[in-house]
């Protein structure tokens, strides 16, 4: 059973909790292969997708997950262009709580926004990505994908390549994979490597490796995880041009050859074809990008079930 009301990040989850989520997700995967893809588990529960930051795939994934479990799903996308206009985050949270939502899935450009909401609401808060902090459901769906392909989450070499600095996906994956004693190689230009990230985890620091050499990161890797280049965050000169970025950190077939023969290529999407990954890699035999999408629905069903359904009606 999950120990917390909310799912705010991977950092504070135990390996047992993570395994429970993954095992539950695996058992729920079968639902999505049925002709009638629906079970009544969360009938009468209300799920609100509160997306302050644009996202099609994550929101859709949560929506499908909720609907397959028969929850009532409502999507809200408040405009965030101006703080001074409209309701504050806290007022929004209190309003939704007053409407007796059971679970609120939050995406927000400000790190910590879900944590603020969690303190103020009875509803379970699920972090669907906050700023550059965490994206726990992404790391969990990545873990499910890896486990199903590799049979384990331990002892692997996982290269995470790209804009580490602004990436919540990288942070959540570092927390998760090092907990299971896989070696995580973070690879980026020094301008995109956050300061003191080697001290970000309290335990298992020997499993975290930093490099700006893509060759070293990819060498004998079991998993290559490419991060999206976030052009919208490139207000400062992190690198001179997209062309030069691709020269050093783009993944093409030649670079994949340095990895293990059975390497899998992952990407949280949406991909920038030709920027961080070439089409022949993204669409090629190593790619598990679409498996990740399927795993995403299962993992989110598991989380919704564990946070809303597993307590019974007395909660």
């Amino acid at each position: 059973m999950l120990k917390h009301k909310d799912l705010l990040g991977i950092e504070n989850l135990s390996t047992d909790e993570i395994l429970e989520i993954l095992n539950t997700a695996e058992s729920l995967q079968e639902v999505s292969s049925r002709p009638i893809k629906k079970v009544p588990t969360l009938r009468g529960k209300t799920l609100i997708n509160l997306f302050f930051e644009a996202s099609t795939r994550t929101r859709t994934s949560f929506e499908i997950a909720g609907k397959r479990l028969s929850a009532d799903v409502i999507n809200i996308s408040p405009a965030t262009s101006s703080v001074s206009k409209g309701e504050t985050l806290i007022d929004t949270a209190r309003t939704l709580d007053a409407m007796a939502a059971d679970c609120v899935v939050v995406r927000h450009s400000a790190s910590g926004a879900p944590a603020i909401l969690a303190k103020l609401t009875r509803a379970a808060i699920v972090n669907a990505g906050d700023g550059a902090h965490e994206h726990p459901t992404q790391a969990l769906l990545d873990a499910l994908t890896i486990r199903q392909r590799k049979g384990t989450l331990s002892g692997l070499k996982v290269a995470i390549i790209g804009d580490i600095s602004h990436s919540r996906v990288a942070r959540s994956n570092v927390h998760l994979l090092t907990k299971f004693h896989s070696h995580v190689w973070l690879c980026s230009a020094p301008t995109l490597m956050p300061v003191e990230i080697e001290k970000m985890i309290d335990e298992n620091r020997e499993y975290l490796h930093l490099t700006h050499s893509m060759k070293d990161a990819v060498a004998d890797a079991d998993v290559i995880m490419m991060l999206r280049v976030q052009f919208e965050r490139m207000s400062e000169s992190f690198f001179p041009s997209v062309r030069e970025y691709f020269r050093y950190y783009g993944l093409n077939l030649a670079r994949v050859q340095g990895a293990k023969p059975d390497v899998i290529i992952m990407h949280p999407g949406p991909i920038n074809r030709g920027v961080e990954i070439t089409s022949d890699v993204a669409d090629g035999p190593y790619s598990v990008i679409l498996d990740q999408v399927s795993a995403g629905v299962a993992v989110r069903m598991a989380i919704l079930y564990l946070l809303m359904g597993a307590h019974g009606s007395s909660d």
């Binding site: 950092e11 703080v83 504050t88 985050l89 806290i90 927000h108 450009s109 400000a110 790190s111 910590g112 926004a113 944590a115 603020i116 906050d130 700023g131 550059a132 902090h133 965490e134 919540r168 942070r171 956050p194 300061v195 003191e196 990230i197 001290k199 970000m200 207000s235 400062e236």
Partner: protein
């Protein structure tokens, strides 16, 4: 105003005074110090200071009173109330009001409103540049005539080196210090907390220590070049402390202050995204805290100032990225200094009163006959818990709510009048 303070331990390091005695105040001034015979003081109100310390009035040289312009957060009256409740008989008010104090009419307003409504004395600080835009010098002389004691664009560092040079030169006409909030705005751009492992873990954009130290470095060179009088506001990093120490050894006319929150808390306080742990400069690392305390102990740092920065609760109840920088501090400064710093009492009085008076070059007050009777009465052993709900400030943005402290100002006397008393 007449008052007899009986039996207090009088501590005034500027007069090499430390001993138990009485202080007689007549017409708002100290008229006698010693064993006052009972017959001389019939009808004079008595303040029994047995077991307490009597010090020259504490002076907080870095506060934001928010008036004019942001009266929902603080007024000169409420800020003054908070000051005396914290043991301060005087404050220096930063110019970033709305409109900013960049011309004599605003200075006049602050001075006259303070006389009307504030129990603490208020010394205004004028802007360095018009509208604090960092483009052209404000009317520094006109403001000086109206009562400012220093100039600063606090909160907005003067990035233009040539303009800052001119300010250091021009202020010498009035022998006023130029106070800089040291922050290279390019290095700090977008940052909301100290850049380090916590900013990485929390996914918040960092403000590197170098944003402060590179600015201090530039300013020290300009101070040497102009022979100006320079004061560093709220030092927060080890590197900057070291540079100030080295520059003082070379004889530059520089002074520096540190805030209680910077010597008490670290960036770990941000871990829960508490917006009351958001201020600028940000809370730094353990090593920086150690360096600040060393600087206080060895005299590199001249003064403790609160950087009292009230904000309405609506603005602090936002995402961490969006909340404004700043916390209140007038009522916790003395308690935190007693609790956190292991320095002799006389040194604490220097940090809170003697040095602030010298930095701002105000007419000195202290425990001597003829001085204006501005006194702070302290109980260094008083155990108390700060309850922000009881704060006299209009705002509630303190990270110290619930902190258990040892040592407190229990009496504040301005012009011979007891404006605050806490008998526990």
């Amino acid at each position: 105003m007449d008052l007899l303070i009986k039996n207090g331990r009088l501590v005034d390091p500027a007069r090499k005074l430390d001993g138990v005695n009485d202080v007689l105040i007549r017409d708002g001034k100290i008229s006698a110090i010693g064993k006052i015979p009972a017959g001389d003081t019939a009808n004079v109100p008595l303040f029994d200071a047995t077991g307490l310390i009597v010090a020259p009035g504490f002076f907080d040289i870095h506060v934001h009173l928010r008036e004019p312009g942001t009266e929902e957060a603080e007024t000169i009256a409420t800020g003054g109330q908070a000051a005396v409740a914290g043991g301060f008989t005087a404050v220096a008010a930063m110019p970033n009001t709305k409109p900013p104090n960049d011309n004599p009419s605003i200075t006049h307003y602050i001075v006259s409103e303070a006389l009307r409504s504030s129990p603490a004395r208020v010394f205004p600080i004028g802007a360095i540049t018009k509208e604090q835009k960092g483009e052209t010098l404000a009317e520094i002389g006109e403001m000086f005539e109206a009562g400012i004691v220093a100039i600063s664009d606090d909160g907005k560092p003067v990035m233009d080196g040539q303009l800052f040079r001119r300010a250091l030169e021009y202020a010498q006409m009035f022998d006023m210090p130029v106070i800089q909030h040291c922050e290279d705005l390019h290095l700090s751009k977008g940052g909301v907390m100290h850049e380090g492992v916590y900013s990485t873990r929390l996914g918040l954009k960092g403000i590197p220590s170098a944003a402060e130290s590179t600015m201090v470095s530039r300013d020290l060179i300009l101070t040497e070049m102009t022979r100006g009088k320079y004061h560093v506001a709220h030092l927060s990093t080890r590197k900057a402390v070291e540079m100030v120490r080295e520059a003082k050894a070379r004889g530059l006319r520089i002074t520096a202050e540190v805030t209680p929150h910077h010597f008490t808390l670290t960036d770990a306080a941000v871990a829960t995204y508490d917006t009351n742990a958001k201020m600028n400069p940000p809370l730094r690392s353990d090593d920086d805290v150690a360096a600040l305390i060393e600087g206080i102990q060895d005299g590199t740092i001249d003064a403790i100032a609160s950087d009292h920065a009230p904000h309405h609760i609506n603005l602090k109840m936002l995402e961490f990225d969006r909340a404004p920088f700043g916390i209140t501090g007038l009522e916790t400064a003395v308690g935190l200094a007693f609790t956190q710093l292991k320095v002799p009492l006389a040194r604490l009085v220097e940090l809170f009163s003697i040095n602030p008076q010298k930095i701002m070059k105000v007419k000195p007050w202290g425990i001597f006959e003829g001085s204006v009777a501005d006194l702070t009465i302290l109980d260094p052993k008083r155990k108390w818990t700060f309850d922000v709900a009881q704060s006299r400030s209009k705002s509630r943005n303190s990270p110290f709510n619930g902190f258990e402290l040892v040592g407190k100002a229990v009496g504040t006397i301005v012009g011979g009048k007891v404006v605050y008393e806490d008998r526990g």
